[in-house]
Symmetry: C2
Subunit: 252 residues, 2 copies
């Protein structure tokens, strides 16, 4: 059975997509079979993995709302991991999903059909705590919480944890925190240091030892549709995600 | 009658809140009377303006859903502009608003009661194209679209414009684009230059001449609950927002 990990945080721009793609890629390089699910209507995880969204006939929306077979929607990338792509159709899912009975379990039910095909399934979530993110957390074994080392991101973590605890209590008692991932860390600013030490104080050993530095190569790689390991494997960003995946695998 | 401007972009972390607070602050310094509305459940515009969210009895949720009088919910800041604060209650509004008849006009109707008290009303939107952002756009005369000079932000602009055009056509024919605001511009990277020139090619003179540089002082100021003009008025970030507001006023 696959380990299903959501990558979630309602704060925008904290590195959810960048982390989802690069963790998937380095897990695949470690010979794990991996599926990356894009649940954000922006479709950044889809295009960042080199897939052209323009001519997709079906996507994550169809799996969630129309009960399409996941295996018929999943695409292979050139990077040895699969992607369940997303399109703007997902924008309608927030409202339409509410009309489906026991909507919270829609994704969970669908993933049971394909879970045995993979070692890991990663879910890139949109920047909200709405119906789609709830579906992802209910379907998951654990969650990775990327956290930009900035003030507003720090502020938002409490409300994320409140929602997480509600889901753990009411809908998915087995979900755990895989880890809090510090991202865009800039060692020359006291802001980064202050936020990092505050997070470590709160979350202790739940904070991944690997810290992702702010590194322009990470923001350049999506314009080439490649994970960082294929765009610039010797960059600081690549090394940080490689170390992170080693940590994730060692937690198995 | 106030000029009502939404600050919106479904891409997360592009500088919506930072722009909303600092534009409000420099408009107030130019002796304009200003209301900043926080429509994001994260409440960053509330805390970034120095207001403690912890002990708020009512907020934007009550104005949208419970028809509370806006003037009873609005608070004064120390920075000569008012704020309609937000709390986590807003998270419920996405779903509850749909049960209100002609929900698209909820905010518009409420703002008519207070519009004569202000010269400008700015609305900080959440990172989505859902019910709350639609409400804001329906209530607005124009929209400022902050755009981080990075690849994923560039990718998302097309779907924002599609939604904007639908709202302009069906719900609010008078809304215009106030301008596209380039943010977190890093003049040492080709990525910033490439994205900026791509945006200027698409939007021409709709792109504000003032470009906001990446400037750590801008990300430090919210931890002190102050707009940049009060935290570090001589910083590059402060000067850029001051110039932007001069441009906005000259467009009157
Ligand atoms: N460590 C990093 N260093 C530099 N840039 C980064 C880093 N991580 C991500 N970025 C860039 O920062 C921006 C935000 O990252 P990303 O889109 O992955 O965040 P997100 O949380 O998925 O955003 P959203 O909330 O919109 O889904 C992107 O342009 C990305 O390329
Ligand atoms: N020009 C800038 N230079 C450096 N940091 C900035 C700049 N503008 C904003 N920031 C920081 O970047 C982060 C994202 O900005 P902000 O929160 O304003 O974006 P947003 O679009 O409102 O995010 P969300 O989508 O979550 O609402 C914040 O930590 C902010 O302090
Ligand atoms: Mg993302
Ligand atoms: Mg914001």
């Amino acid at each position: 059975m696959a380990k299903i990990i959501s990558v979630a945080n309602q704060k925008g721009g904290v590195g959810k997509t960048t982390s989802s793609i690069n963790i998937s890629s380095y897990l695949a390089r470690a010979k794990k079979s991996v599926l990356l699910i894009d649940l954000d209507m922006q479709g950044n995880a889809t295009t960042g993995s080199g897939i052209n969204r323009g001519n997709l006939e079906s996507c994550a929306y169809d799996v969630l709302i129309n009960s399409s077979e996941p295996s018929e929607v999943i695409l292979q990338t050139q990077f040895h991991f699969d992607v369940l792509p997303s399109t703007m159709n997902l924008a309608g899912a927030e409202v339409e999903l509410l009309q489906v009975s026991s909507w919270e379990y829609s994704l969970k039910k669908q993933l049971e059909k394909i879970s045995s095909h993979y070692d890991y399934i990663l879910i890139d979530c949109p920047p909200s705590l709405g119906v789609i993110t709830i579906n992802a957390l209910v379907a998951s074994n654990s969650v990775i919480i990327p956290l930009q080392c900035e003030y507003y991101a720090l502020e938002g973590i409490t409300s994320f944890i409140q929602t997480f605890k509600k889901i753990q209590y009411n809908l998915n008692p087995s979900i755990e925190i895989e880890g809090v991932l510090l991202t865009m860390y800039n060692k020359t600013t006291t802001l980064s240091k202050d936020v990092a030490s505050e997070i470590i104080k709160h979350f202790g050993n739940k904070v991944f030892k690997s810290i992702i530095p702010r590194n322009v190569r990470l923001s350049e790689s999506p314009s080439y549709g490649k994970p960082i390991g294929y765009y610039d494997p010797s960059s600081k960003g690549a090394k940080a995600y490689l170390n992170l995946v080693k940590e994730i695998i060692s937690n198995e």
